[in-house]
């Protein structure tokens, strides 16, 4: 790890330890999101790490960014996810926005005063995203949006939303991307989802009822919305992989610490070979996942296509997070099952990492598609 990256992570760890860790048990139980934590991460420079300095970012590499996400996730998967989704919105704006859009929306996102959110899924289109039903009808000076988006991370606390809506016929080619702001007329929030984990991160529906969006808030041309949606996908997958690694690493740290201190049958339980094998396997999977995530991030930094490795990294790292957190609860025994120890929270948080940014089943479909292309061109 470079000195800069090591320092970035060390500072972040100190900040999270003081500002996030003390709240997490309570906030998880209450489903409470604290804007000041997100904004604090922004003040420390962690909200717009990869964006160009011209737009308020830090201009660092994607590999640096995923290292910080991993660190953040060790303290809170929920806040790491908030940061990663907001970063994805920034990347989309930087890649596909015109100069005016970038000037207008990016600075508040890169410095972390505002949160960005991304709205693609609907109740009947999850994995099958191209079948979305929300419409954007052309009206004088812009578009009128109608429909409901589901599972939207940071809904209600975010200010800038990238929303996919249908301007044309069926399928991916009829979809366009729009920038919608919190408070826009005709735009409201639906019920808050009651979830198994990620409780400090709000998930809600977005409701559009004749919501007017000016023409200048459309990204790219009509019908190019899927290009926008898919453009952020590889990076988003690597980011979720990094969060998976952080989640798993924390659970492993906790399991090792606990097993060294807990005495049963007159010896630390760490000294039982059955537990040693569990922890050796856990450490192996975490390290392998980290290397895969870092390798995928380096492809982005070297301008090589990361698509296959991004899917592999997301799949491997989130499966690892589920496996390692489950084992960590097991190693803690009864106390691991209570909210007094953090491992059960990380286990609940891990499960949805296997579902978001393309379920791990979809990742396998993507990987297989690449394999076919490579072997039967």
């Amino acid at each position: 790890m470079s000195d800069l990256r090591a320092e970035l992570c060390l500072n972040l760890a100190k900040w999270c330890h003081t500002h996030i860790e003390p709240h997490m048990e309570h906030d998880d139980a209450e489903g409470k999101f604290r804007l000041e934590i997100f904004q604090g991460l922004g003040e420390q420079g962690y909200a717009g790490i990869t964006l160009p300095e011209a737009y308020g970012g830090a201009g660092l590499s994607y590999a640096d960014y995923v290292a910080t996400l991993e660190e953040m996730a060790k303290y809170s998967v929920a806040y790491a996810v908030t940061v990663s989704v907001s970063n994805m919105v920034q990347t989309i704006l930087a890649s596909y926005g015109n100069e005016a859009q970038k000037q207008k929306f990016l600075p508040a996102l890169t410095n972390g005063t505002e949160i960005g959110a991304f709205a693609l899924s609907e109740s009947h289109s999850g994995s099958d995203a191209a079948s979305l039903k929300t419409t954007a009808k052309k009206v004088a000076g812009g578009y009128s949006l109608n429909g409901t988006k589901m599972w939207i991370t940071s809904a209600g606390v975010a200010k800038t939303y990238i929303v996919m809506a249908r301007t044309g016929g069926e399928g991916a080619k009829g979809v366009s991307a729009f920038i919608v702001r919190d408070g826009d007329k005709g735009f409201s929030y639906g019920k808050a989802e009651k979830k198994m984990g990620w409780k400090a991160s709000p998930t809600r529906e977005l409701i559009f009822e004749n919501c007017f969006v000016p023409e200048e808030n459309r990204l790219l041309n009509e019908g190019e919305g899927f290009k926008v949606a898919m453009g952020g996908l590889d990076r988003g997958r690597i980011a979720i992989g990094a969060i998976g690694v952080g989640c798993a690493q924390r659970a492993l740290d906790e399991a090792i610490k606990y097993s060294l201190g807990r005495v049963q049958f007159s010896q630390p339980i760490f000294d039982f070979q059955g537990l040693q094998f569990m922890m050796a396997d856990m450490a192996l999977e975490v390290e392998a996942s980290r290397l895969l995530v870092q390798r995928a991030a380096e492809l982005i930094d070297n301008n090589q296509s990361p698509s296959k490795l991004a899917s592999m990294a997301k799949l491997k790292a989130t499966d690892t997070a589920m496996y390692v957190t489950t084992e960590a609860v097991q190693i803690h025994g009864g106390v691991g099952y209570t909210s007094e120890y953090p491992v059960e929270r990380f286990m609940r948080d891990a499960k949805v990492l296997q579902i978001v940014e393309g379920t791990n089943q979809i990742q396998r479909v993507v990987i297989a598609r690449h394999l076919k292309k490579e072997y039967a061109p």
Partner: protein
Amino acid sequence: MWFFTPEERELQKTCRDFARAEIAPMAEKLDTEEKFNLKAFRGMGDLGVLGITADPEYGGAGLGATAATIVMEEFGKADPGTTLSFLAHSILCVNNIDKNASAEQKAKYLPKLISGEHIGCMAMSEPGYGSDAVGMQTKAVKTGNDYVINGAKMWITNGSMADVSYVYTRTGPGKKDLTTFLVEKGAPGFSVSKEIHKMGMRTSPTAELAFQNCKVPASARVGAEGDSTVHMMKNLEIERITIAGISLGVAQACVDQCIKYAGERKQFGKNLANFQMIQKMVAEMATETEAMRRLLYTVCYEFDHGHKSNTLASMVKLQLPKMATKIALDAIQLHGGYGYSREFPVERLMRDNKLIEIGAGTNEVMIMIIAKNLLKDALKE
């Protein structure tokens, strides 16, 4: 199972209907609120299952491990938390009293426990002694005609609401100096020191109990001093077998829910059932569930026919909870975002089942026991 008796089949149907009507509708709400389903518990009394294995002379049903496991499976499909409290009451408390206590003690406690008027619990684990249970430190000292108990008990299912607690204590320094007492709610020096907040099994209250110079009469002692290691070992098998029944219920409920969802949810223009990856998940989880069922009920049958096996009971307790967690995780995955929400039961079933890998002996302790039994002779060399 093909070998269920007509009586067991009838019990299965009755419990299934009861669970659908009285347990399932309340499960999500009570899980969120961390509350116990007292109404269903009383209903179980009317149903006659609270003393499923107990002597009919005291109101019990006098049935075996198969019957008790059938109840666990059927209730477990609806709400593992409520079922765990049922187990702590009927197997850990009632069955232990029925098998180990005196006629006077049985006459005093069993009728009300079995009718559902009273709730029972068993207190064995301590903060420092979980897997290593026989190392327990809660002490009972004889003074005149009484015993004075001091110590703390941890992870006590039903502990905060029990009218009668079956409490393990140490009455001497040796490994086998364990003695049990029946402690009533309100006994002087006996209190609930903490309610424990858990990841799952939230409809089943768990407490830490404190004994501070708690005085109980000698008549509350179960058997003679030092009898309880033997008592403990005698009932371990039925405890391990029946708790695995909850995991079977979890697995079966997940399979049922996945089949339903795969037929309803459409993506890419067809329902999920058409995708080979979904077919693989459903086929494998159903196969695993069927393997669980056959292992569990075969061991029950053998138990009821006089072939008790510590090794097989431990294998059941290792294999079923472990597989059920895997199946429940896959069930969430198959449901995607909806599976992670509380609108569908699968995330709750997963959280609940994880406990069964820990309570009543962790997977790791089961592995130790199985290995020790299998390698007994080899270990002597």
